[in-house]
Symmetry: C3
């Protein structure tokens, strides 16, 4: 499902001297088109973090599309099914004609709602080179449309 | 609707030497009181970013009021009308007496709910001096109360 | 309810020279198990910020547990009661059997939903050593499960 990072990390050197701080674009991970639903994104963030070499800092992980979310919650399959059903209750896809947005030829207005509930992005703390997470925290990608290839950005700032 | 930045940017010089990193307060953009609803905020962020001179970094854009949101989604008028109707279903203003908060003399408890769904803030990645965005990502300001003058903060960190 | 910071702040010195920038882990504040509901977290963030010495920067404050939120809104007791009632309407705990997640022996699937609406984290701007906040903005901790000891992380980056 998830491809290699397609953009180079940009460990920009600054005025010829060693920098105290790094801003590392880990670029964006491509996700192929596929079924809507929740999927693991945690290992990709851990890999990008390791590659960045940042030991202390903050990281941004965001969906680059407006019908998708990056969020943090439990790695429990039943919970992810519950999210799907719950979001469908709060923002039903049908009737498609209920939404003005769908008059543009789309049928995914509901996906733009679902993404707002689950959020676009997470900010993560990096401590001693690791994600500074609680015991159950895992990063997920929520896809509410399912069509088109999607990208997830990772940007790290720190030392 | 949107006024000039009313606070100076604070490109604080640090111990007399050129800094590797900048923290730039672009201050807060004033928005006049007006109807509730979604409005463009994207150009203001782009202008503040350009003015900051930051090439690589992270930016925070947040509503400074508790009945308003800054969020990222499509620039599509039908979708914005759908958000209004959907938020009214999830957090109806009426009956006003339903909410304890309204006993304080307010009638905007629902606006405090709507803002939680749409979020207070966005974090944006800055790469090569630009917002590092997907093709449809645009920054919007959601006003759920409509009274009083409002401010939106922009703070950029990077190099 | 809230205990002292249990981890040391890590004002990591960098290559033996004075740093332009600081990344300060204020560690995580422990919150004892207790009733679900909204409680003040603002003073803890202000104290951590003061202790960090950072004058200009950004701060991350996040729940380290997946049934809790950190959010920013008004310090008004009636509003907090409204949030409780509203979240229960959008994501009712009962019937417990409605949620797949609860087949794992839990009964808190609803808490994982409520937390997504209220959010996991806030990013705050720090200007002149203070939280750069609007007049009504206050930081709260929302507990939707109530069992187990919980932690809230604060991480500051800036100068």
């Amino acid at each position: 499902m998830a491809k290699r990072l397609f953009r180079q990390s940009s460990g920009i050197s600054l005025r010829g001297r060693r920098k105290a701080y790094e801003v590392v674009s880990k670029g964006a991970l491509v996700r192929d088109a596929g079924a809507a639903g929740v999927s693991q994104h945690h290992p990709h963030v851990e890999a990008a973090l390791k590659e960045s070499g940042v030991q202390e800092g903050l990281g941004l992980v965001n969906a680059m599309h407006t019908t998708a979310s990056v969020f943090i919650n439990d790695d429990e399959r039943g919970l992810h099914a519950d999210y799907d059903a719950w979001l469908e209750r709060l923002a039903p896809q049908e009737p498609v004609s209920r939404y003005h947005h769908n008059r543009t030829g789309e049928d995914n207005a509901d996906a733009h709602m679902k993404r707002q509930i689950m959020g676009r992005e997470v900010m993560v703390a990096i401590t001693a080179g690791q994600l500074d997470f609680g015991p159950w925290e895992q990063i997920f990608y929520g896809e509410f449309d399912g069509r088109r290839r999607k990208r997830v950005l990772i940007k790290v700032i720190g030392e």
